[in-house]
Symmetry: none
Subunit: 223 residues, 4 copies
Amino acid sequence: MANTRRPASQRSTSQRSTRKRRADGEESRRRILDAAAEIAGERGYDGTSIGEVSARSGLPASSIYWHFANKDELIAAVIERSFERWLAAVELPGPEVGDAGERVRTMAVGLAKALLDTPDFLRLGLMLALERRPAEPTARTKFLQVRQITRERIAEAIRELTPELPESSVRALTTYAMAGADGLFIAHELDGDDTDLVALFELHARSLSDATARELDTHRSNP
Amino acid sequence: MANTRRPASQRSTSQRSTRKRRADGEESRRRILDAAAEIAGERGYDGTSIGEVSARSGLPASSIYWHFANKDELIAAVIERSFERWLAAVELPGPEVGDAGERVRTMAVGLAKALLDTPDFLRLGLMLALERRPAEPTARTKFLQVRQITRERIAEAIRELTPELPESSVRALTTYAMAGADGLFIAHELDGDDTDLVALFELHARSLSDATARELDTHRSNP
Amino acid sequence: MANTRRPASQRSTSQRSTRKRRADGEESRRRILDAAAEIAGERGYDGTSIGEVSARSGLPASSIYWHFANKDELIAAVIERSFERWLAAVELPGPEVGDAGERVRTMAVGLAKALLDTPDFLRLGLMLALERRPAEPTARTKFLQVRQITRERIAEAIRELTPELPESSVRALTTYAMAGADGLFIAHELDGDDTDLVALFELHARSLSDATARELDTHRSNP
Amino acid sequence: MANTRRPASQRSTSQRSTRKRRADGEESRRRILDAAAEIAGERGYDGTSIGEVSARSGLPASSIYWHFANKDELIAAVIERSFERWLAAVELPGPEVGDAGERVRTMAVGLAKALLDTPDFLRLGLMLALERRPAEPTARTKFLQVRQITRERIAEAIRELTPELPESSVRALTTYAMAGADGLFIAHELDGDDTDLVALFELHARSLSDATARELDTHRSNP
DNA sequence: TATGAATGAGACTTCATTCAT
DNA sequence: AATGAATGAAGTCTCATTCAT
């Protein structure tokens, strides 16, 4: 009842500030995400332990839980940020220059370079995506969503270049386009840096152009 | 009261089936490998726990250690057996029939079918391969070896078909061949069963034939 | 991105209501006590966490520590307020009307109704009281004090009604009176609302009257 | 493998077998239950930590999980064993001797003595029962079941003694009987050992007899 | 050819509390 | 009159592994 207008806890004069000088949430959050991205990119979902994130970020484990509700949300945030960076790294093709094949090749080179710059995104994403655990991690869902969006963009680009193409062909070509990208990325990851990713993406672009042309031919003769 | 001799966390879990009580080493080993393969195919290396393998195989954890030295060797054995099955599933192309393109296409279809039959091999393998942990699991090494052998076979096939091709081209084409296979497998895993893996592998075979031809042309004009 | 300033575990939890942002100490204190009373009444001392109080009150944990020195004092304050409300809910018997038995019955009914109105007080109190932890929480002490005062009042009432009764009998009857109240409350809590608390308290009042009369007889013949 | 046959006189005396000489599951289980019962009887469900059980039983926390699937099952097992012991402690009334009142009194004294002997059962049970947490612990359910059985037995005894009594009266009297027992137990727990539990239970038995007689009268005149 | 029982280390997460602002 | 951010300790539980039998 008698409410003394004072903080309920009494103040001590000893000022041993082992504590951080100034709490900076944004900075801490960033450090946690950096550490988590690093580890998750190396070891996948299960291999990423909060303890290790704590060790690498320099923040105690309990602090991680101030910023992220749980491990699931942390990894999901990693994927999210990773995707944003990857998107930023992709050089969007400039104004429509050259023929269809030329444009496809330009896009392919852009993708290859982005993958070289920000490989964590796809590496972690693929690790997550290949898993089939009963309780699907949020991060996996997030990656699959992003992937779906990417698919849709590719399909749109194909439709724009070859409007006559039937939808089934568009879908097959989209799948093939993405498969090449995924596969070449993996090749580069596994077989080391001597894999010339840019050249191989150009090769893939050429394959796609040719395949598109073939599909178009088939469609025209078998309408 | 009913004190069955299992860890408490596994008591009262309905067993897979009433099992024969006769001790049979080969059978036990098989059951452990089956369980481990199932789990590892779903959850990767870190996600596979001895406890879960014990639960799914119906054998106590200590029995797993009678058959395998440790988790690492268990997963390595999974990869090994998985690879053997995958090899057996690949329909080797019969005696040289048809032209080069035809032969490539036949091989591609064989690969696609094998992947559909025994997908665990590549799924687990890729999960392992994408990881970059400091202490490399034996299973990963094993998978990479197997992969290397496969690469070598593909390269050999290419060399045989087009002996003139310079080694750099052979390597690029090999990488591209494997990349397509990996990527298409992933597409099929992620985008569901409506991805026509066989058709896409045929498409890829065609791309490879064309690319090989192009490389040959380039080489002939720029010797 | 939307970085509301709450611990991550509480973000996106739908707030109880849109709250006025004006700082109002009295109102905040009330909200904290409400939340704490709710939780402590459900889960007892150990089961009441500051985090949960924070979540249910909508105030950050640190704010709770502005109003209360620590968890112990918070729960003590809960007991205190709860007791005040309970006291207010007890309908004090009017001026001496009717015979002794009648008056006892009226008091009993008053108690029963108060228990129905403010059950948290006794529920939490009993939970605390039954514990025997080494470091006795302030709240427990507080409840036991309140209980002792109540005992004293009952004893006083008995002495007033039957001044001849020896102290040992007064004590026994007091204990029995309280025991009945406690026990009937528990019965009502456990066995649901179909327990007619008022009728049972009347039954108990009658038992007490009779027991008192018996004790008196015994005393008169064995002085 | 290397056969370390040695004369007994040369065997090293430092026999640091940190491991238990012989694993004895039954004994360990008992020790864990003893420790858990002790703590749970003192501090309730939430107040019982596996760490403390580990410390008091001398077994590592992980060993506790070999014997019990989780904390919930551990506490449930405590209640179960506790109830068995309590049942064994209750002296069942001998062959029907004396009148109804006499028999009721004998039963009451038996109950009182059992409560004095094995107080943990009811103390923990009541603590659990008073809680209202969303996820009901198994132990609480178990206690409520046991309590229901006890109620049924009391009701049966009342029906046997006074077969004419309508069911509503039987139910009220049963509730009152249990309430007295609960309340007196609490009184004894809180107000110390100077509460003469046996005498108070006899008082309660008398109240019950009288109340039963009254109910019977009421029923006979208002059939 | 197993397996019941155990165990230290470490997993994720919550705890009560602090303090600079 | 608060509160964002942090933190060490402790919470429950799982981990891979061992070993006597």
